[in-house]
Symmetry: C2
Subunit: 214 residues, 2 copies
């Protein structure tokens, strides 16, 4: 099948949205936790977090200011902090439910049964039930002219994770932590490790470091 | 375990890079195909492609201008086009091998045994062996001041995919196409569908649309 930008535009809107959302490959599934200066907590599912750099440790994400992302974006811009909480299978339905358009005065924590937890002197709530959690400091928010989405760049200030998730070389086994992958808008996947491949060099083929590790 | 930005900085560089690269969750695995005006082909693995919008259909990715990404970045900026090819298990080792630092005159296609293929009047090479492939037109490249990485924004011009991958509502079953997920720098995963969840609304709980679909 060969679609072009023109034939894509002829598709009904719902089909086009589902299709295009599937084309980048698997996505991360994270819950963004924020709290307004007035104490209103917000929790939102995002599928657009991406690694931006290790030194300094930075993460990017894309938010849509006219969607359910709007409260998160408002609170993180106002307070300068947010959390990212990797979604695992046990909290998946609750996590997806946070994408409903709740009014401002309703906390998605309360509505979905997830538990907010805090670190001292850090205003954004973590998800107690999550296993891998980041406390982020906003470095920059930038509206992208091409479609008015907002690129949020954050620095990693806190990392909370299970001791046994971190391997000797620093690699975090997110599969062991039950982290799920997202495809399209609403399709969730558990993972099965194929293995880790050695650092690639021009003069010799890469090889498996851990075959079918779990 | 609780790490902070400070304790993270105390880790040896290799450990820190592995750790931070694992924290965004699962990543997409795509091969970026480019061809210079002089006819030099380049193919590079990227783990940073993300959905940016469906209308218009846009994709973002992050590239590192001082790494092996440099030829890709140079060619896509010069020619205005590139391809994105979802990595599946059968081409995984070849795909990972493209991340070796080959000199300019060596095509990663030749070096790894993957086959370049072209559409008429589109200068960037697709990976013949890939199943889901996009022809992209560069909209913008922007160097991010925070760490000098480059955000590439592209519009989807061509979509090539197997007929049976697209479901009635437009959702593309990338699991059926064998697409792999990446975690960290070098860990690859096949997926197992948990299911699709219904569009979330405040007044009723989300439910599974397809339980354990494959």
């Amino acid at each position: 099948m060969h679609l072009t930008a023109d034939t894509l535009n002829d598709l009904p809107r719902g089909q086009r949205i589902n299709l295009v959302n599937s084309l980048s490959g698997f996505k991360s599934a994270n819950l963004v936790g924020t709290c307004s200066d007035g104490g209103e907590e917000n929790l939102a599912m995002v599928g657009s977090c991406f690694h931006l750099g290790a030194d300094p440790a930075l993460m990017g994400m894309i938010m849509r200011p006219h969607s359910v992302d709007r409260h998160s974006l408002e609170y993180l811009a106002a307070t300068g902090v947010y959390t990212l909480n990797q979604v695992h299978e046990d909290i998946l339905k609750a996590a997806h439910q946070t994408s409903a358009r709740y009014p401002r005065e309703i906390s998605e924590f309360t509505a979905t049964g997830l538990t907010p937890s805090y670190l001292p002197a850090f205003q954004a709530p973590f998800v107690e039930e999550a296993r891998i959690k980041l406390g982020m400091v906003v470095i920059e928010t930038q509206t992208l002219a091409v479609n008015d989405t907002v690129l949020v760049i954050g620095a990693i200030e806190h990392i909370l994770l299970p001791d046994n998730a971190v391997e000797n070389d620093g690699f975090v086994n997110i599969e062991r932590a039950g982290t799920v992958a997202l495809s399209g808008l609403d399709s969730y996947h558990r993972s099965q490790s194929i293995g880790r491949l050695s650092y690639a060099k021009p003069d010799k083929p890469t090889h498996w470091l851990h075959d079918n590790a779990t």
